[in-house]
């Protein structure tokens, strides 16, 4: 076997191991979501069984429907993403470009908030929200989500803005554009890959969030990550339903991932390619 061929085979084997480790829980969930409760608990596990959509029917349209929770998750995630982006884009631009007092401190502060352990701040957050009466409200949860999505988004976007040469902006000023126009017409179109990547990450973080949601939500606003736990109780775990909800909760993530895949790759390589007139 030549060295080249050996390397190829070795790479394939290692890739396969990682892929299996990653794909197994997902396949298992999908399989379980299509079984009846009896089949799920059968030992040894049944690989061949009569698939049924009963679990999906129950979790979507049964008495304990998770539809309201899916809607809650959407409202929270979209709300968080929209507000985050509206604030993070100008903030990141300012950090990347403008000179102002306390810029260094602001840049550090943005990063520092990312270093706090979430468990350490969850009780203060709970007390604050309770005092202003925002526990179990959309505005309460979105506000708290902003506290970590905003620094993350700013931090991610700054590097994209820094990649745009100064001369590009200066050319626009000399062409008669104001700063806002330059930002809108010249800068933002060039960082759209980065913006897409940031949108995806912020949305996913909000969609997948569990720790804060379980403490700060209630009966009115309960995202699907928290609602899932209704199927786990002291007496029994409804595995098929739990699996069905997991698959449903995963769907938007997968769809978003597929749509944004091209942009994510493009966004991560921005600046690596010497494009027209850049640099």
């Amino acid at each position: 076997m030549t060295a080249k061929r050996f390397r190829f085979v070795a790479t394939m084997i290692i890739t396969l191991i990682f892929l299996l480790a990653w794909v197994f829980p997902i396949v298992w969930s999908v399989l379980n979501s299509l079984k009846t409760d009896q089949d799920v608990l059968a030992y040894p596990p049944k690989l061949i069984f009569q698939p049924t959509l009963e679990a999906y029917r129950d979790v979507l349209f049964g008495s304990g429907s998770i539809l309201p929770n899916l809607i809650s998750s959407f409202v929270i995630s979209i709300g968080t993403t929209v507000i985050t982006m509206l604030m993070a884009v100008p903030a990141a631009y300012a950090l990347a470009r403008l000179r102002f007092r306390g810029k260094k401190f602001a840049g550090f502060y943005v990063l520092a908030t990312q270093m706090l352990p979430p468990v350490g701040i969850i009780i203060p957050y709970f007390l604050i929200l309770r005092n202003i009466g925002w526990i179990d409200t959309y505005q309460g949860i979105i506000l708290i989500y902003l506290s970590f999505s905003l620094p993350f988004a700013i931090w991610l976007l700054v590097s994209y803005f820094e990649d745009i040469p100064f001369e590009m902006e200066e050319a626009a000023y000399l062409d008669g554009a104001s700063r806002m126009r330059t930002l809108w017409r010249i800068i933002i179109p060039q960082v759209r890959g980065g913006i897409a990547v940031t949108i995806v990450f912020v949305f996913l973080n909000a969609w997948n969030e569990f720790l804060f949601a379980v403490v700060l939500s209630g009966n009115t606003v309960r995202p699907v990550t928290v609602a899932m736990f209704n199927f786990v109780s002291v007496e029994q775990t409804l595995w098929a339903k739990l699996a069905a909800v997991s698959v449903l909760a995963m769907l938007p993530v997968v769809i978003l991932g597929i749509i944004a895949q091209k942009n994510i790759v493009k966004g991560l390589t921005v600046g690596a390619v010497k494009g027209g007139g850049r640099r």
């Binding site: 062409d175 060039q190 027209g276 007139g277 850049r278 640099r279």
Partner: protein, 350 residues
């Protein structure tokens, strides 16, 4: 168009912290002139251009365009077009949109924009590329696109920051000639930054030579070439550069390595000087300065000989005729009017 684009720099100082990038720069540019800012990197020529464009603010001093003090005016209100070294084309827009952008910002009607864009594209011969994105253009085409974007708006002033430095040698020569023709036909005032003295010599009507944040000399290229007013300018202008050697001036003659050379200077007494002689002004002649040929650089039509003249390195440029072999000892001379004399202490021309 003439009568527009007059520039006046009045004692401009630019500090970057403790470092002074410009130490009191003053000059005038006449309307319709092709004016070059020439100097090595870090000499302040680009800073001067950026201050003129309004991209940097001077620490002190004033800038006038057409008699109006614009020192505090925003870049976008100065009516100045600029070609950047990197071209700074907008990569997400087509060539057409790039050229149209300044007109769009000026809120011109669409029909007028269309006519102007096509006209500008025709002038720089890229009318067939209007639908392309800058990334799909060659370096030369990108450069033309940047030019078109600058000329599409009939700006008061036309600034060029080393616009040819990213092109290969052949294209640079061609574009240089076209640039000059374009500037003449448009009749605009052009300010051109370059570190390439050949570019400045060929393009400029007048030029300012920058060294270490100061203007050393302003004048027509031929004038500066013929009469550099300091050792630094003499060393910078001309290729290969001027031979500069320490010597003794005695009663109008210079003494180099024990040999006397006549100069045009009428002066009694003795003093130390720096003698400058251009390689092209030296001739092989009997009874001259003795020198040994160290190396022959063949440039095709001419040859440059590296000489060792009593321990001092010199260069002479000769035609094809009478080229001595390497290692030969030759005798060289120069006409009195070709010998430049400088003061070693002040470095100024005597």
């Amino acid at each position: 168009m003439t009568g527009r684009g007059q520039v006046r720099f009045e004692d401009i100082v630019k500090m970057h912290g403790e470092f002074s990038a410009l130490k009191g720069v003053s000059f005038d540019i006449e309307p319709g002139e092709f004016f070059a800012l020439l100097g090595p990197s870090g000499s302040g020529k680009s800073t001067t251009l950026r201050i003129l464009a309004g991209l940097d603010a001077p620490t002190s001093g004033r800038v006038f365009i057409d008699g109006r003090d614009i020192t505090a005016t925003d870049a976008r209100d100065r009516d100045i077009a600029m070609v950047f070294q990197s071209y700074a084309l907008y990569p997400h827009m087509s060539v057409y949109e790039n050229i149209a952008f300044p007109l769009e910002m000026a809120k011109l009607p669409v029909a007028e924009i269309d006519v102007a864009v096509k006209d500008a594209a025709r002038k720089v011969k890229i009318e067939h590329l209007l639908d392309r994105k800058p990334g799909q253009l060659s370096g030369g085409q990108q450069q033309r696109c940047a030019l078109a974007r600058a000329i599409v708006r009939k700006a008061r002033l036309f600034l060029l920051d080393e616009p040819l430095s990213n092109l290969d040698a052949k294209l640079r020569m061609e574009t240089r000639a076209e640039l000059k023709k374009l500037q003449r036909s448009l009749g605009v005032t052009a300010v051109y930054v370059t570190h390439d003295q050949e570019e400045a010599m060929t393009l400029a009507d007048r030029m300012a030579v920058f060294m270490a944040g100061e203007i050393q000399q302003v004048g027509r290229p031929a004038e500066i070439f013929a009469k550099p007013n300091s050792i630094d300018v003499a060393a910078f202008i001309g290729s290969p550069p001027m031979n500069l050697l320490p010597a003794r001036l005695a009663d109008g003659d210079v003494i180099i390595a024990g040999h006397r050379l006549k100069t045009a200077m009428q002066a009694a007494g003795e003093r130390d000087v720096v003698v400058g002689i251009r390689p092209g002004a030296l001739r092989i002649a009997p009874d001259g300065l003795k020198a040994r040929v160290e190396l022959i650089e063949d440039l095709g039509d001419t040859k440059v000989l590296d000489l060792d003249c009593a321990g001092t390195a010199m260069r002479i440029r000769v035609g094809d005729e009478s080229v001595p072999p390497e290692g030969a000892v030759i005798s060289i001379a120069a006409r009195p009017q070709d010998i430049h004399l400088f003061d070693p202490a002040t470095r100024r021309r005597l």
